[in-house]
Every structure is written in structure tokens, then in C-alpha cells.
Symmetry: D2
Subunit: 402 residues, 4 copies
């Protein structure tokens, strides 16, 4: 007979979201057994279900490990207990049984009251303070902070699939290149318009492939149309965009004629030298020297942008933030209150941005490589909808929808 | 000191085609040494080069193996000798040292005269007869046929890169998804028009992905515009096209709304049942029952087509040729005198077609998967120019060029 | 108010298999609404759940389309009705509302009795005869056959995930190259031994990549150890294996030294010529001429094999079955009563085999290309467990487990 | 008649390296014409060739652009002129016609003397100073520095393929997963031993996939055997290695049993917290708290390492360098005098390292994704030899060779 047990409760669209199935899977995988004490099923698509599950194990440690997995899935302990807060023993240090956050909406119980957690993001710790509960990065923990530990008094509300179904059915389907992309173009155009009509914020996260594949015009149209409220990328997308604006090449290929200017990385270094001369992108635009392209439109339309550095950067441009702590900080600011994040041809910055946003932010990833989409989802940004196609062509077609 | 040697000659655009470099590479890899006895370089882009190379080895067998490799690269023995013909000992049987053909233009010396080889294709044997020299498949060899063996008296003219440079520069560059596809669309449109203006034949080789990705309209426009002189595919492209024409789905996905009709392989079986009812595609069109789509346009415009069967086929349709010997025969007929072969989203049929055509036939392969293009080139169809992009979008854009 | 409705029932591991979630998804996607009239949940991992769902629609046709989707998921109409059988109007022809089978265990009701369907496979029709119910291919339907139509009186039992969990947990996880393959090697070795200990049949489905990547030794060990009861492939795997056995090359690369014998397709044609000389593979082995390799071991150990032709074949070998109807027939025979199917580096033959087996046959697919595994699952062989790795290395390591 | 012309000379293994072919290709693509005034061919594999080419154009600008491309290929102007040095107008600024370096050995002419350029790397500028010529990054240029501009007086010696041929023939062949990896394992083992026997430095550049695929043991053996003189990576490889050492999981998957501890990113955050507690990796090892794994072995064997930050990092670890300028500096230091660079499962850090080394450094890239290898080569690190295989299995097999 199992000596250790714990009763958990969960509530929501447990069946149609697949969450109930995941919960039971995890219990079995975790070498525990279960009894479903209660299961009240939502009779219609609108009604929620609730369940009460008794979990048993031979071993307390195994049970604790299982709870590490179940709490993020929306299970909460039925005992009416407050969350346990412990004191951080040093800067950037927390007790070993700290609660590591998901990107789902979370509540923490203090003095019998369920506090919503602010700044929700994955892989953070939850600090309890005078101002309530909020997610902070481990590195921002200061000695003496009250940090949530263990599993009691924590309620996670996993993002349910419900929403997508209603309006975004195509994209919710599998990651596949063998789907009619035209439907996706139309749906994304519609989503852009609707998001803006509702006063929402759209953040574009772009890699240099946007430039190489001829997506500059499409993205510029998006910016001019007011469909980009913030732009995130790295040094490369800006360098290639400026190279293209100045010399009509990208990585040494003439984009208009397609004639390769082989070994021609020189233009790319010339573009950096050009910007260095003006002291930055904004100044180059203001001086009338840079007159077209993505970066130009961003400056002209006062769309804030952040270029994060990387180990493979040339230059970098004066505008590129070389310090990753600072760059993550700026990314986080620009992603705050985002309603829609569109990731175009970049795994690195896409994962970076995905790490920072709650799962309630609609996220679209467009890439010719199916592995990029898979990787984003695997890393926790499971709300990501992937469209496997040629990014430049996609933006070209999208242009006509805006 | 090397006891065995052979002097070979080669002629053509040896340097700018990279052939000279390949020849020297192969000699080193083949554990032989060389002396370049003569090298007369073409002084301009129009002039040819000639070279005379003395090859030495410790071992006759190693030398022979090297010649197996050099002859296909355009080297020919300097001794003025006729090709050696041997008698086939049985049906589908040849002596072990038979000459295995390349897909390049080839001449064979008989009675002091250089005969052009007809029906050039790779992996064939060369039969000498009253009607001269021609490539035949090993299976078509009959006991008593005269078959070319050894290396003497054979001249191969490898396809040089020269041509592409002049008019098709973009596509000649590397296989890469990070290139501006719009240039390729424009160039391909131009190539189509020019090929037809010159009275040339265009053969389309298509996989079902053309249907799944929304390329039906584009391909239909190509057919109606007279840009398809023959159509090669398998059972699947026809089934999915007809399914789409009848039920607006493809593999159970509604292509117009993007709504997945999951588990919906039924429509695909219904489409086969529908065609079975009429006794074939042509009859279904003639009966007015099938009224749109690729197969419809092919029938209406009297474009000959061949659907080759495969081990994974459902059905198959009455029009699908289930016997591979027969299907290869029909493919070969339809590819005869082709000037341009366009392979759209199919590795299997693309390699099949590539095997049958000489290297002088311009070949374009469009696929979202870079491995498909690489594989085609690796297997000997090195004239293939690859465009890595979304097939449906590509056809959609191409439509406006025709 | 919805004018049309249908009540369906389902039973089994509805939650932990994810089936319940799928059912509700499909209802919503199908533009219908539901009420869950009853849901009795299995309290433990062993107990089954049952549910009764009332589905409503504005439109009879939409409701019928939804049932096309729900019946394969295990839903059955609650009215106690026999299945409706209709007469086939011609050879290879059935009424348009025929029931198209899944690869899951199925029962059909006749005269109030639930008959198990024999020869279960996907995309077939169900024929009712004196001998009960069985799946037959559309092409095998004869005028006058009684064929099941509509949705009444059909019960499908979708394969539940339950089984995998217990013994094969690793492989059941996502398709990913970033997983420790060593665990998979060990588990597969164990599975082989256990399958044989239970008297089970293992069928290997192999592509030529097994030879190119150095997997010959590993596969030969499998055959000698009695772990292969049937071998399915195409012409290429046999040609390359025999080429390797005779000349130690594969596609012109010396496998032992890695030195490329470029342009060296000659050996591959020599291998075919060699087999033609003996009149077939078995005769070449019996004559003592072919003395090693996969084909040799198959012949020596009297393991039946089938080589299916394709449009891209060279040769083919005398043993290759060029007619696809015949090849599918032979594949089907060799797959009958298979307990484990292992697909090694071939999408074409893997999908072919997958089409022919019920979902209860454990299926493992090993390929370096993640798309192959995805494609197999997408096409309905959802029981397939994928291992993304180097096939040759995998077989090399597996050798030590047998 | 062409009004503008320039005569260039080149020397070396022009034919067998393919360089001569590239030069002529670039002239044609650059819309110029050529006459080969002289071509003296190396008669044997040891002898060099020399050529003198007269290039003509209608347009001076076009001719200059062509020279931008030809100089990196080893062409130098025949006029006996010194290189032109110009003064940098500001920090990180150079004249627009600055010479942008390749990663090939380069000489610059000053006062009639050819100076070798130190610290050769791609995309740098060449500074002339009292201490001769050296490559510096654009950002390190200081106002008043003398910087090489134009094309005169610059000689580049492109890395010839010659070397690989002799000893590393296998790997020199195409990037392909369909090659026998066992040969590569043996050759790499041999190369490691020989490099060390010659006192050479081996630098490993690793991504976290080394840990996920079970390569930890193999890499640890390499470190213990003295085959790693420096280790470059990012935050992730260290975090996952330490997670694995402490909890036997990697990204929440138990590597030994393969049982997924889903949603289990907690261990990965615990590992960071653990290291934070000790104040760094070295201190955690010294305290006896971290007792196995890659990072442990590096510390124990005093192998210097650099972990470069990125926008997607969690933590980061105290040892991770968050400032990219600093990280690039440290990478450069550790890559100085490297003889062999082995890139294991990382595109980001592989490209970063590739940017910093001259083309004479042998570079091996092992990755399951062929695109990674292609990308490295495309970006200029054309000396890179790629092996497409499972990294973990490769390291596992390599272990037995060391």
C-alpha cells in the first residue's frame, strides 16, 4: 500500500484542452498511482470541468517531484494553506525547493487570499512583497527577499486551447509545410487589423532572413501601416537591412537582379562603417543619409527597437546592445503588454522573446525550417503557432492584406 | 617508379567549368600521379582549352578504375583506337567491363569514325548496331548485342556551366533558401516564354505537395497558357487534385478555409471511387463530371500525362500505370526532346525523370526541402538548378508572369 | 435551435489517451455543438471511462460529415441498429457514402451481433459476406459485394496510448533528435528479445541508407540472430547491398576507407549485371557467388523478402517486383501477423508498409530526418514511434544488444 | 572596345583548388571580359601554377567592384605598387574604400616590401603601424590609424584544398548524412592524436546538444585525455551539463532511463541557483560540490573555457560573460594559435568561432542538421569539414579511439 499521498484539484477546460490527459500521463510516468475522486464534466463547450485526484506513492520524494510537474499543469493542493515563503540567503540565491514559474497566469495564496502574480514569465521565481506577488529573474533576487517555495498555495491557470479554436483554426493545426499558406496570410492580416482595432500592441521579432528573402518591402508596409509597436532583433538584421538600403545587396547578393557579388562581405562592413560615421542609426536617418528600409521606417515612425548583440556579430552597430543583461532588460520592456508577437525567421531571438512573455500573448512564428517552430514550442512557448513557409514570400503576400 | 601509365586528352571549358580541377582531384584520390604534358588555355570566355595528361600508377587495376572515373569527365585515351565492342552473353547481361554511360553527350569510335550516341541517359550501356550507337537500359540488352566495353574510343562531353551563366545567373548559384525568390520567379517566367517562343518542350514533374500548398491555380494557368507539353507524376498528385476539384479538400484539409477535416482520408478514397465509376480520368472529364483542376486542364488541353504507381498508392486510379517497366517506358517517351524539365515538390518522380534525360536538358527543381535538390544533384543530374521555397506560393507568383 | 442531432457513445481510456479531447475538438471544428449527457470516469489507470454525447447541428449534411470523423475516433451511434450494407454497383466501385476504414480494431453489427472485422487496415472498405466482415482494398471490390455504408452499426477501438507507457516510455515521447539515443538502443534490443521470446514476428523495412551509413553488419547480425522474420524494401537496398558485398563500395564510395570513387555508379550497374548473370539473388547465393551482406543472410536464413520496384529504379534486379499491385500484395502477405515493424531509413516503403498494418502493430521508425517520422504519423500510422538518429550508428550499437 | 582594364596575377594550386575556375566565374558574373595572357600549369601535384589575366570593362566602377571580389581569391595587381594606407577619420571609422579582410593568409606591400598580416581573420580592416600589418576589428580602429584601402599592394593566399586530400580525404567530400560515419570517427581520432603529438592546440566549441544526446562521457574522456586545450560555448551547455551532473536530467529528461520529467525546467534553474550559491563553477568544483561532468573536468584539468552569453539565457551563471565585446575578446584569445577547432552541435558559437580564425585552422563541424554545416561554409569558413550525424553517438564511438 502506498504510504504517501496528496489530493489535488484542477478546474477549467480540462478535457478539450488535453490538460486532464496530460495530468494522468504525468502521474503514471512519475511512478505514482491515482484515484479520480471526483470529475464533474462541463456539459457544453462553455462550461468548465473540475476534478479531484488522489495521488499515491511509496516515497515522499517521488511524490514531491511529481508535484513539481503537476502544479504547472494547473493542479493545486486541496488543503487550504498559504504559499510558503522563504528568505533568500543571498543575492541571486534562493532555497533549493523554490517554485520555478511557468508562463501561465498564476495565483499565490497569502493570508488566505489568492494574489495574482505580476510580470508572469517562465523560469522565474515568485517574490512576495508589500506590493503583492511578482515574477523576478533569479539574478534579480536580493538577500532577504521572500521567495515562494514548495507546492502549497500556488494555482496555475494553463492557457487553454479554447481560444484559438474560435478564430484561428487554421494556424492551430499541426506544424506543416504542406498546408495552404494563403489561408494563413489572410488570417494573419485579419488578426493584425483586429489587434490594432482593439488598441493592441504587435511586436515583431526578426532575423536577417527577412532581408535575404526579399521581405523588406512587406515589413516596411507593416511598419508604415502601424502594425508594429516594437521591433526586436539582433545586430545582423539591422546591418543587412542598411546594407540593402545603401547598396542593394544583402550578404553580397544583389537582391534585385539576383546576381551574386561573391565573397562580397565588404558591403556589410561598409554599412557598419557608414553607421559608425553618423554615430548611430537614428542619427543616420536624421541626417538624411539613410532613406529606406526597415530601420529607416522604424525611426521615421518612432517605433522603439532593440538590437541584441551576439557572439557572432560583426561590428556591432552603435545601436546594438552588447550586454545581454541590458538587452534582456530592454526586450522585456518592449514586450510588456504585447498582445501579438510575430517571430520572422529567427530561432535565437524568437526563443529569447518567448522566454519573456506570458502564454496569454498570441505568438506566431514564420520560418522555412520546421525545426525552429518545434523548438520554440518544446521550450515552453506552447502557445506558439507555426507557419512553415518562405518568409520573404509570406511578407510579400501579407502586404496586400494590410 | 610507376610501371603503368596512360595518356589522356580533354578539351572544352576545362577551367571555368571546374572540370580540370575535378580531373586532378580524381587522379589524386585514385592513388595515381599525373604530369600535365600540355595545357593550352582558352584566352577568352569563348575559346576552349585543351590538355594532355600522363597518368601513372603502380598497378594496372588501379589505373583501370581511375579511367572508369575519368572517361565520364571528358578524358579520352590518346591512342587512336576504336571502341571495343563485346557480345552480350545473354538477355540483360553484358561483360563485366562494360562501359556504363553518363548523361552527357557521348561519341564512340567505330572504324575510325566518331559516332554520336543516341538516347543519351545515365547508367545505360551503349549498343553498337547497324544504326550506329545508342544508349539502352541493361534490361533491354538482348543476347548477341554488341556492347561497348573498356575505355578506348569513348569521348564524353560534360555539360559545361558556361550556358547558365549568361542568362540564368541567379539560379546557378548555390542551393539556398536565403535568396530572393522573386528574382527566380521572374527568371523562370522569362525562361518559359522563351522556351515556348523557340518551339521548345516543357515537362512538369509534380508531387501532391503542389495541391496541398495551393499551387493548383498556378499550375492550371501554366497548362492553359501552353507552358506544359507533358505532365509526369504519380497516383497521389492526381488523386489529391481530383479530391480538391470535387470536395475542396486535400488530404482532408479544406484548402479554402484551412479548416482541417481530421481523419478525413475518406474524401481521397471517394475521389478514387468517383474516377473508377467513370472508368478513368479522361472519361470523367468527357462526361462533364470532373470540371476543374490540374487533371481536368491536362485532358482539356490534350497534354499527355503519365501517372506512375508506387508501393504506397491507394487505389490506384485506372490511369495510374502500376507496372514500373511500363511506367519508365512512358516517362521516357514523354521526356524525349524535352528542353526544360520543372520538378515541383517530388523527390521520387524527380529522380526518376532525372535518370532518363541527358544533361543538356535544363532542369529546375522547386522544393521547400533543401535535401531534395541536393539529392537530385548528387545522383548525377548535376545540371539541376534548385530553388528552395514554398511550392504553392512560388506557383502563385509565377502565375502573374505568364 | 439545432434541428438535427445524434447521440454517440464512446468507451475506453478516453482521458489518458487524449481521445475525449480529440472528440470534443472535432465537434467544435465541425461547427456543431455538444452536450455531455454522461461521463463516467475510470477512477484508476486500469478502469475505463464511458461517455454519452449529444451532438447538435443546424444541418444534416454537416452532422453526417462530423460522424465521418467521429466514428474513426471510437464513437458509435447509440441507436441499436445494424450496419447498413449496400451492393457494389461494379468492380472497384462502391456507393459514395461507403465507410472508409481506419487501421484500428473495428466491429460491425449484423443481425444484432457485433462481428470483428478481419484484415484491418486503413483506407479500405468493409465487405460483409458469409464469412463475416473483412477489409478489402477498393480495387478488389467485385460487383455485387455487400459493402458497409454510413455510420450506423460500426464500432472502432482506437489504439490507446496505455500500452506504450508501461514498457516503452522513452520512445513514446516526442520526435526529437535531442534525446539520448542510447536508451532507445537498449529498449529496442529488449523489445526484440521479448518479441521473439513470445514467438512474435519482426518485419524490417529498409532503405539503401542502411548500406550507405554502414548499417550492414548490424542488420546482418539481426538476421543471423533470428530477429528478422520478413524483409521489405525496394530495388535500391538490394543493389547497394550487393554492390557493397562484391566491391566494398556503395554508390561509388568505398565504405571502409571512405575514399569516394566519384562518378562511380558503374559498380552499382555491375552488381545488377552480376545478379542478372545468375538469374536472381537466390541463385547467386546458391552458386556461391554472393557470399556476404544483407541479401546473402536473408537467403541463407530463409527469411522471406520482397523488393518493390519504383519509377527511379536502375535495373531492376530480377527479384524486384515491378508491378505495384503484385508488390503490394506480397508486402501485405509478409506483414500479416507482424508484431513489430522496424522502418530503417526509408519514407517510401515505410509509408507503404504503414498503410497495410493495423494500429496494434508496434512500429518503430529510425531516420536521421525528423520529417520522415512526422510524415508517417500524419498519414495515419499514429502508433509509430520515431527515433531521429544516424541509422548506421544505431544498428552498430544495437548489435551489442542482441 | 573596353576602355578600362587591369592586369592581375595569381599563383598556387590554381587548377586543383578550383580557384582558377572561381576567378573566371567571377569575371563573367561581374560583367567584365578577360584574356588569359599567360598560364603556366603545375605539371605535377606538387608544382604550382601561375597565371596573368587581363580584365576589361566598359566602366571603372564595375572594374573596381570586380577587384573587390578577385583580390580575396588571390589575384594581385601586377603593377609594382605599395598598398595605399589612409588615415582613420574617427574611432571605429575608416574610409569607404577600406580593404575588408578574408580569413586567408595575406601580405601587404609597404616600401616595396611584402609584410605578412598578423591576427588574420575575416571581416577585419588591416592596420599598418610601426609593428607591421595586422587585422583589427572595425570597432578597435582609433582615429589616426593607418588603414589599408583599395586593391593595390595586397596579396591573399587562399587556402588550397591540397592538404585535405592527403590525409583527410573522407571528410573533404560532400556534406552528407549518407556516408559511413565510422571512417570519420577513426580519422578524427587519428587527427586528435597527431595534433597532440605535434604539440598542437585543439579547441572544442560545444552546444547543449552534446549533453542532451548523451555525449558527456565522450567529451569528458577527450578532456581527461588531454585532447581539449580550450573550451568555448554558451551559458546553456554549462547549465545543462551541471544539471545533468547534479540531477541526472537534461532539460528535464532523465538521460539514463529516458523517462521525461515533463515541464521540468526546474532542475535547470536549480543548477543555476546551485552555482550561484558557490559563486561560480570553479568554486563549486573546489568546494567538492560539483564532482562530474564536462565543466568539472575542465576545471580539474585546468582547461581554460569561455561561456558567452546570449539573449535567450536563463541565469546566467556567474561564469558566463554577458558582454559580447568581452566574450568575443576572450574567444579570440582562446582561439589564438589553435590548430584544430571542433564544433559540436552549435551553429551560433560555431559561426562566432569561425569568424575569428584564419582559414589555415582545420575546422570540423559535427551536427545532425546539414544546414548548420552549409551555413558555416557559406559564411566564409570554407575550410570547415562537416559530418552530419548524431553528436552524442559520435562522441560515444570516438571515446574508443582515444
Amino acid at each position: 500500500m502506498a504510504a504517501f499521498e496528496q489530493v489535488v484539484e484542477a478546474k477549467g477546460h480540462l478535457i478539450d484542452s488535453g490538460i486532464m490527459s496530460l495530468i494522468l500521463d504525468r502521474i503514471i510516468e512519475g511512478h505514482c498511482t491515482f484515484k479520480i475522486e471526483r470529475f464533474t464534466v462541463g456539459r457544453t463547450n462553455e462550461e468548465e470541468s473540475t476534478t479531484l485526484i488522489r495521488i499515491q506513492s511509496q516515497n515522499q520524494e517521488v511524490l514531491e517531484q511529481l508535484l513539481d510537474v503537476l502544479v504547472p499543469l494547473g493542479c493545486y493542493l486541496t488543503q487550504e494553506e498559504d504559499a510558503r515563503a522563504e528568505v533568500a540567503p543571498g543575492d541571486a540565491q534562493v532555497p533549493d525547493d523554490f517554485y520555478s514559474s511557468t508562463n501561465h497566469v498564476t495565483f499565490v495564496r497569502r493570508d488566505g487570499e489568492w494574489l495574482p502574480v505580476r510580470d508572469q514569465r517562465m523560469d522565474a521565481v515568485i517574490r512576495l512583497g508589500a506590493d503583492g506577488a511578482c515574477c523576478i529573474k533569479l539574478r534579480d533576487v536580493r538577500r532577504g527577499d521572500q521567495v515562494v517555495c514548495g507546492h502549497a498555495g500556488i494555482k496555475v491557470v494553463p492557457e487553454f486551447k479554447d481560444r484559438e479554436r474560435k478564430e484561428f483554426s487554421f494556424m492551430a493545426s499541426d506544424i506543416s509545410s504542406e498546408r495552404r499558406v494563403f489561408v494563413a496570410v489572410r488570417q494573419l492580416g485579419e488578426l493584425f487589423r483586429q489587434t490594432r482595432a482593439d488598441g493592441g500592441r504587435i511586436v515583431a521579432v526578426c532575423g536577417p532572413v527577412v532581408v535575404h528573402t526579399g521581405g523588406v518591402d512587406g515589413l516596411c508596409r507593416m511598419i508604415r501601416g502601424g502594425y508594429v509597436q516594437a521591433f526586436l532583433g539582433g545586430n545582423a538584421v539591422a546591418v543587412h537591412d542598411i546594407e540593402h538600403a545603401l547598396y542593394h545587396t544583402s550578404l553580397g547578393v544583389h537582391l534585385d537582379t539576383g546576381i551574386p557579388a561573391h565573397e562580397g562581405h565588404r558591403n556589410h562592413m561598409r554599412a557598419i562603417n557608414f553607421v559608425n560615421h553618423y554615430g548611430g542609426i537614428v542619427k543616420a536617418v536624421e541626417a538624411g543619409a539613410l532613406r529606406s528600409g526597415i530601420m529607416y521606417e522604424l525611426v521615421k515612425h518612432r517605433v522603439p527597437f532593440c538590437l541584441a548583440g551576439s557572439i557572432r556579430d560583426d561590428g556591432p552597430l552603435p545601436d546594438t546592445i552588447s550586454d545581454m543583461i541590458a538587452a534582456q532588460g530592454r526586450y522585456t520592456e518592449l514586450l510588456r503588454d504585447a498582445d501579438l508577437v510575430v517571430i520572422l525567421g529567427t530561432m535565437l531571438h524568437g526563443i529569447g522573446a518567448g522566454n519573456m512573455i506570458p502564454s496569454s500573448v498570441r505568438t506566431i512564428c514564420i520560418d522555412i525550417n520546421p525545426a525552429v517552430v518545434t523548438k520554440l514550442s518544446d521550450r515552453g512557448s506552447s502557445q506558439t503557432v507555426g507557419i512553415v513557409t518562405d518568409v520573404g514570400m509570406f511578407l510579400h503576400l501579407l502586404k496586400d492584406q494590410l
